[in-house]
């Protein structure tokens, strides 16, 4: 697990990277995801969210830490476990809940739901129901960033299980060959559905990236500051060098593969490392008063509850309006 020189130097000098947001801000963003997903779990259990949902509890540090360095014109392609990515990239809670509840004013007008949630206005190119499906889309988006000029970049998130899919390898090769400004971010939670990924993938991403000659960086994904600092450096590098890099974070999938998964197969009985608890303990250490933190948490909870309540009142979409958008009309382009 290489570490950028810049990050090490900065840590030595200042204790933390001045370019990344304050920890309290990162913490608040993680709490937003956690609270939103808690509500998702409850709404799912109550039958108010239909379909399949994959919660990212335990992985918020990656979403928040990586997205802290991105701009709205940077693009990301996500996975089936995409709530955290979407919210951290800027999808609002209203569009989010309304989408998951299948409402007409959801981010995708209730046609996609959890596995396909997207907000192109903030550069979020969609969760994806296909493992590896977003990787090549991000690659194309990265090529668009390059051809447009400027210093934008694309990111694809993917899980450790996705490493078995050919598309990831095709994309690594092309990214390096064509010098595409794309950051491959692997959220390694050790699981591929109900199977330990060690039974599915025989290589490490670090060695693989080395074979491709793509710079690789890895870190503990449950420490949001570490993630943010490393990501800031690596994002910066991709912006400047206009070529790919790989980032891998060790994370914990706290809940089941999807909601409703009893996780009986799970043998790793050690308590999960929770990025929220890690950050919270550090805030305490740094002397941030508990009531201040609790006020932030309460505010987020209220905001989430408000969004949920509003989503409940939102109208259902009609089949006619859906039917009208199977094809884009001629004027949509240009």
């Amino acid at each position: 697990m290489a570490e950028t020189k810049g990050a090490a130097a900065r840590r030595a000098a200042h204790g933390r990277n001045a370019r990344t947001p304050e920890l309290i801000e990162l913490y608040a963003r993680m709490v937003t995801i956690r609270e939103a997903e808690k509500s998702c779990g409850a709404l799912f259990a109550a039958g108010e969210i239909p379909g399949f949902i994959h919660l990212s509890d335990g992985q918020e540090g990656v979403s928040v830490g990586v997205m802290a360095s991105l701009r709205a014109d940077d693009t990301i392609a996500s996975t089936h476990r995409g709530h955290g990515h979407a919210l951290a990239k800027g999808l609002g809670l209203d569009g989010f809940f309304r989408e998951l509840m299948g409402k007409a004013d959801g981010a995708c007008k209730g046609r996609g739901g959890s596995m396909y949630v997207a907000d192109l206005s903030v550069g979020m190119l969609g969760a994806n129901g296909i493992v590896g499906g977003g990787v090549a889309i991000a690659l194309g988006s990265g090529l668009a960033q390059k051809l447009r000029g400027g210093d934008g970049l694309a990111i694809c998130f993917f899980g450790d299980g996705a490493l078995a899919e050919g598309i990831v390898h095709e994309s690594l090769n092309i990214a390096q060959l064509k010098r595409i400004p794309i950051l491959f971010v692997c959220e390694n939670n050790g699981w591929s559905e109900f199977s330990p990924t060690s039974t599915q993938v025989t290589f490490t991403l670090e060695k693989l990236a080395a074979a491709y000659g793509i710079p690789y960086f890895g870190a503990d994904g449950s420490d949001v500051e570490t993630v943010a600092e490393l990501a800031a450096d690596v994002v910066d590098r991709v912006r400047r060098e206009r070529g790919p890099a790989v980032l891998e974070f060790a994370t914990t999938r706290i809940r089941g593969h999807y909601e409703g998964d009893s996780q009986r197969y799970r043998k790793d009985k050690a308590p999960p490392v929770d990025p929220l608890l890690v950050a919270r303990a550090r805030l305490d250490e740094r002397g941030i008063p508990a009531p201040d933190i609790e006020a932030i948490e309460a505010g987020i909870r209220a905001e989430v509850q408000r969004a949920v309540d509003a989503a409940r009142l939102s109208p259902d979409p009609t089949l006619e309006s859906a039917a009208a958008e199977v094809y884009a009309p001629a004027e949509t382009t240009a």
């Binding site: 209730g110 739901g113 396909y116 299980g161």
Partner: protein, 324 residues
């Protein structure tokens, strides 16, 4: 006779096939330890061991390609592709390799393999987890395509598919998995290609397959109340499909409706209708009507999906529309 669910009937067919032929192997994602996402393969790992019930990484094209190699090597692989939407990743292995080898190698070898997958809506799984793509495979010479609708057929046709020396795409409808029913004691492997008359009738023929057969039966019930006697044909196998059975029914009823859950346009129903508009033309007393999903991706939202799914009511209306 045992009271079971649809998923159990499939499990039992796999179990019995493995017990009777040591060459039968299962490969798929999370099918062994986890027993399958829909629990269809539960218990088989314990019974047959990890050499015959093989958990695979997420690599659908390789899994399908391996099945071809295993089949050439004397085994009868039964692979599971978790959702039919993921079959998009297996198309080279199935279409360019599995389907063609017997023909292209001059009959040197059969390619006995089965791809189990599931299709269909009703679970709000959204556009990439609900598609019915059977028409693609039916268009490919060398492949067979099976879509069972009942527990007995799930068992009998899966046994038949495993016995068949050709690559077979065996499609389960996800909404049927929990369906309770009876598995007959005497059910055995059925050769592929024979339709089943699910309900005899004399006024109109309703051809269907898979989950939609149940809608067709409901429609027939309703029509009976209106004094219309509908014959319901469950195709069971859509490639090859039982042209003779459909034609015989049409010769009796002179009216035809074809219904499936897949998108209507360019779906399986198109072939059946087109064929009958040729060889059954003289029998037809009215237009051939089709019932299928509208031309859009399967939408996620609850109400949207309900409105999207073809229903018994639409079949009844289609039957009325054949009566010009």
């Amino acid at each position: 006779m045992s009271d079971l669910r649809f998923a159990h009937a499939i499990n039992r067919a796999l179990d019995d096939a493995m017990a009777s032929d040591p060459g039968v192997l299962l490969l798929g994602e999370d099918i062994a330890n986890a027993g399958g996402t829909f629990a269809v393969t539960r218990g088989l790992l314990d019974k047959y061991g990890a050499d015959r019930v093989i958990d695979m990484p997420i690599a659908e094209n390789a899994i399908a390609g391996m099945a071809v190699g295993l089949a050439l090597g004397g085994f009868k692989p039964v692979i599971e592709i978790m959702f039919m939407d993921f079959m998009t990743l297996t198309m080279d292995a199935l279409v360019n390799q599995a389907a063609k080898l017997h023909f292209m190698f001059g009959g040197q070898s059969a390619v006995p393999m089965v791809v189990r997958t599931q299709h269909g809506g009703g679970l709000n799984a959204g556009p990439q987890h609900s598609q019915c793509l059977e028409a693609w495979f039916a268009h490919i010479p060398g492949l067979k395509v099976v879509v069972p609708s009942t527990l007995d057929d799930a068992y009998a046709l899966l046994r038949g598919a495993i016995d068949d020396p050709n690559p077979v795409v065996f499609i389960e409808n996800k909404a049927l998995y929990p369906m309770k029913g009876v598995l007959s004691d005497d059910v055995t492997a059925t050769p592929l290609g024979k339709a089943r008359i699910a309900r005899a009738g004399s006024d109109v023929t309703i051809v269907s397959y898979g989950a939609m057969v149940h809608q067709a039966m409901a429609a027939a019930d309703q029509l009976a109340g209106e004094g219309v006697s509908a014959e319901v044909i469950d195709l069971r196998t859509v490639q090859p499909w039982d042209e003779a059975a459909v034609l015989a029914s049409l010769a009796k009823t002179h009216r035809l409706v074809v219904a499936h859950e897949a998108v209507e346009a360019f779906g399986v129903g198109a072939e059946i209708a087109a064929r009958m508009a040729q060889i059954g033309f003289d029998e037809l007393d009215g237009p051939i009507m089709r019932v299928g999903a509208p031309f859009m991706p399967v939408p996620f939202g609850r109400g949207l999906e309900v409105d999207y799914m073809p229903t018994a009511r639409q079949i009844v209306e289609a039957v009325r529309a054949t009566d010009v």
